[in-house]
């Protein structure tokens, strides 16, 4: 019964994280286009924009933060695997329980602070300091989502590990390949 619940949780998190991760990848060409447009507008039209600077930073931040959970799902985040690869699969799961817990704690702190900043941004109508002065509230909503997705993804992997450690069986009979790009 617990296994079914765990499985359902893991699968739905995987689905959402993958969806968000793939969606933000469409922002990458947009980012390049915005920066290129600013160069064009300044050099050719002699009319620098007031929005490209902040917009490019926002897009960059959205890709970087929201893509984090998907990178975690694909095990793309960098770790120092010197000892990690030498120990048994069981020990590795134990290590994961500790390090993922630390990472989840970090994400909870990040979410907590981002909520504070969101409320502050709404209360004081915070904006960027530039002439364009775009709002900041959406950024903190994004940060909360990024932290939430990362925490949810880490928790899913944590559950897989603890299930395997306790029951001695894999939560998913066949581990999904991590190399599926599309």
């Amino acid at each position: 019964m617990l296994a079914i619940l765990f499985r359902a949780y893991c699968l739905s998190v995987q689905f959402i994280v993958r969806f968000v991760g793939r969606s933000v990848s469409y922002l990458v060409p947009l980012l390049a286009f915005v920066v290129a447009f600013e160069v064009f507008s300044r050099y050719v039209l002699n009319r620098p924009t007031i929005w490209a600077y902040d917009l490019s930073l926002f897009i960059f931040a959205y890709i970087a933060a929201l893509g984090g959970a998907f990178a975690q799902q694909k095990q793309a985040h960098i770790n120092v695997d010197i000892l990690y690869l030498k120990v048994s699969a069981r020990t590795r799961r134990l290590f994961n329980l500790l390090t993922y817990a630390l990472a989840i704690y970090f994400m909870l702190v990040l979410i907590d602070i981002s909520v504070d900043k969101l409320l502050e941004a709404l209360k004081y109508n915070y904006r960027r300091q530039s002439e364009w002065a775009p709002h900041m509230h959406h950024f903190w909503i994004m940060m909360i989502s990024a932290g939430g997705l990362m925490a949810a993804q880490l928790l899913a992997q944590w559950l897989e590990d603890i299930y395997a450690l306790i029951s001695g069986r894999e939560l998913f009979a066949e581990r999904e390949s991590n190399n599926d790009e599309y």
């Binding site: 990848s25 390049a32 050099y43 890709i63 985040h77 990690y84 290590f95 702190v109 602070i113």
Partner: protein
């Protein structure tokens, strides 16, 4: 309240344990900072997050990372990047190790485009790692060449750390840039010599005649040469856009992206799936790099708030060494700092602390600044903790482990250390050119 020496020790132990347990680097560093911070400072330390977000996610300088990675990905996935190396192999393929030398050449050009280490290594890695591995080059040689070549980004002008150094110590940026040219040239020559000698001694590290170009028809060869030529021209166009004042070094990455797309369309290599894959891969690499930068900056910001800079300052004050001994000790301190902090923070902290001391001992500040840049190049790639190492792991294919990376960089660290010592002992190598040009 814990003393700063004690806290530094605690942080280091936590860091080493988290690394040994295989924690994701950025999440681990951020987690440690927030956990140790909570225990020593209290809940208030969490407020360090917004300011850290401001200096990482809103840093325009770092925007070079996504733009250059994307350019690299587009070049690679459209096959134009490979064509560059295939073409080079058509021409000089009979020389053992020639591909690695072409890679050093391309890395130097990328180094001349970007001003920060991350962009240099991840772009060079995107473009040049695959061609070397596919041809059966020794994995460590290939990784080491990328690391050493990509690191040139801060030694070949323009360079953000050099601008930071010049400003913090009130020295001429132009003089710094010119002073870096001879050490950069020496580094490039030494790297190439190492590759040639190492491949002579161990021919299996750089096999001959394993590339696609061996099976090509004459028509394919012409096409490859054409594509290769155009991709080199693209690199020159990007460089040209910086030199001619069209774009800043950061923005030039976007010029490169547009150029790569146009080339792909012109050569009928543009496919929607290629375009999608490049964006997808770039997004993951950006996330990986930025979560490391964010977590690591959080870690160093916490350490700075607790006063690590005062520790370094008081340590350098009572050294009681002869002048050259002081300089050497400073180099050691910077390499040790590279253990826990990134290139910008090293300059930020050490330039104003160390340079006045060096000047009071009678040394030239520009010379000292170049030593600092050479040192940083080493510091960010010395195991176990180094941004350059993490960037390289990010760009490396699956199956490359951290020990591969650690081992691959060692000979190249030796070379860079030799260049550093050479420039330390023969200051004319640094000072001759700027004195000749600028008087």
């Amino acid at each position: 309240m814990m003393s700063i020496e004690m806290l530094t020790a605690v942080l280091l132990v936590c860091l080493l344990v988290a690394f040994a347990f295989g924690a994701p680097v950025g999440l681990g560093l951020g987690g440690i900072a927030m956990a140790v911070g909570y225990l020593t400072w209290g809940e208030g330390i969490f407020n360090i997050i917004p300011s850290t977000i401001d200096s990482t996610y809103f840093s325009f300088i770092l925007l070079a990372i996504p733009l250059y990675i994307y350019m690299g990905q587009l070049l690679t996935r459209s096959g134009i990047g490979d064509a560059m190396f295939n073409a080079s192999q058509l021409i000089i393929g009979r020389v053992r190790g020639s591909l690695a030398i072409s890679v050093i050449g391309v890395c130097s050009m990328i180094g001349a485009m970007v001003g920060i280490i991350g962009a240099g290594i991840m772009t060079s890695g995107s473009i040049a790692l695959k061609p070397m591995l596919e041809r059966g080059y020794d994995r460590r040689l290939a990784l080491g060449v990328i690391m050493a070549g990509g690191g040139l980004g801060i030694l070949i002008p323009p360079s953000v750390p050099m601008i930071m150094f010049a400003s913090a110590t009130q020295n001429s940026v132009g003089r710094m840039f010119i002073a870096a040219l001879v050490p950069a040239a020496i580094s490039i020559v030494c790297l190439a010599l190492y590759v040639i000698i190492s491949c002579r001694l161990n021919p299996e590290r750089a096999p001959l005649g394993t590339g696609d170009e061996m099976k090509m028809t004459p028509k394919q060869k012409v096409l490859t040469l054409r594509d290769g030529l155009f991709s080199v021209l693209l690199i020159f166009a990007v460089l040209g856009s910086i030199i001619s004042g069209i774009a800043t070094p950061t923005e030039s990455g976007a010029i490169g992206v547009i150029g790569a797309i146009i080339l792909a369309i012109l050569f009928k290599r543009f496919k929607l799936s290629m375009f999608r894959h490049a964006g997808f891969e770039t997004a993951i690499l950006i996330s990986v790099a930025m979560w490391i930068i964010f977590g690591a900056t959080l870690f160093s910001n916490f350490h700075l708030l607790m006063g690590v800079q005062d520790m370094v300052a008081s340590f350098t004050q009572d050294l009681g060494l002869p002048p050259l001994g002081v300089i050497i000790m400073m180099q050691l301190i910077m390499i040790l700092l590279g253990f826990i902090i990134d290139e910008f923070i090293i300059v930020l902290m050490c330039a104003p602390l160390f340079t006045p001391i060096a000047v009071s001992l009678g040394y030239d500040p520009i010379w000292f600044g170049i030593l600092m840049i050479l040192n940083i190049e080493i510091a960010v790639q010395t195991p176990p903790y180094g941004f350059a190492l993490f960037y390289l792991k990010g760009i490396a294919p699956p199956g490359v482990t951290m020990s591969d990376i650690y081992r691959s960089v060692l000979p190249f660290i030796g070379i860079k250390l030799a260049v550093l010592i050479l420039c330390m002992l023969v200051p004319e190598l640094v000072l001759w050119l700027p004195n000749k040009i600028m008087g």
